[in-house]
Amino acid sequence: MIAQPFQYEAPNTLSEAISLLQKYGDEAKILSGGHSLIPMMKLRFATPEYLIDINGIPGLSHIKEEGGILKIGALTREADLEHSDLLKKHFPIFADATKLIADPQVRNRGTIGGNLAHGDAANDHPAVMLALNATVIATGPEGERAIPIDEFFFGFYMTALQPEEILTEIQIPIPGSGTGSAYHKLERKVGDYATAGVAVQLTLDKSGICTAAGIGLTNVNATPLRAARSEQALIGKPITEASVAEAAQYASEDCSPSSDLRGSEEYKRAMVAVLVKRMIHKAVERAGSK
């Protein structure tokens, strides 16, 4: 399968890339890892006139800690997230999630920025970012803009990014002690999209009271979904079987999966409930071991 012809640009600086976006507007697409975009171009679902390859732009592939914030460059490959010691220390959820994203070769190319900017509710990082309360940094002609993750996803393949902006960094607050995180997706086989996926981050105080909870859901809604009622069901009390069951129930009610080859709507709701329970337990276990 061959893509429709396009003009290829490979700028060496961010400002050059942004100038190209200003010039070409929405006729242009950004090429990052390319493992969502190139397949869509080969199928001619995507037919950009201009392709702006940002892989040669330096300074976009870091994983670093600064002032209590973890900063991840948008061009950071999934394989680098999977093996980062800094991420393992603060956020075991990344190792959970990246191991389940596509396969090793795809993870050598795919980037966290692309995974988010694609705006696909079936991708795995969006739910993780919801659970971790991330902020997306977009850079455009006017400079940088911080977009809270809850305001980032608009609809099917639609995000808050403007045609002249590039997603350049993800910022995640590093939580205090007593925090644990976990992600799992049910998939039919390696490389498949999630039948359902659940990301959880919890913080417990010394007496075992849950003081913060983030829960994100993958591929069970038109957009990546924050399970807000589930979070509220946990906060302010100890984690008990009753509160976990309540959180699972709310998540299965509040999502809106569609029936497809991966399963019926009813099955997917049931799996959301199961995964919410399991990921809460895993996050609690990890919170205790830190």
Binding site: L31, P39, P104, V106, N108
Partner: protein, 167 residues
Amino acid sequence: MLKQITVTVNGAQHTAEVEPRLLLVHLIREVLNLTGTHIGCDTSSCGACTILLDGKSVKSCTMLAVQANGKSITTIEGMIQDGQLHPLQEGFKENHALHCGFCTPGMIMRASELLANNPNPTEEEIRWGISGNLCRCTGYNNIVKAIEYAGAKMRGEETASTEPQFV
């Protein structure tokens, strides 16, 4: 509009004028005539087109040739050294790890990065490591054995072939 690119493939430098939409696998197979790299699914699922790009295994059906400009590529043709099979090639031969052979170049290129990062992988690590490569005839047991064999050989240890011995 054609773009001029320069790539180093198996140690030799090549310059080509390509359309931006040309896939890397088509550059390798049809421009450079290195047909050891296969096209299976053409949708980045099967791994038959796996090559090394600057030492990292990638699926060449899901990259553009222009993206490889200035980079170094290794294909299955580059694995043999001084007429000697690479330990992975030898391992596949010794362990009956191929039947039709279509997936083999991709399996070997993927396994070469796996062993470079992890010289002594467990069986589970090997199975996860080749989870982006599909084989439709042998099953995976002998492929796993072949990679174990190559790992042992590359570590300088004794290797055991599973080739049946007829006396």
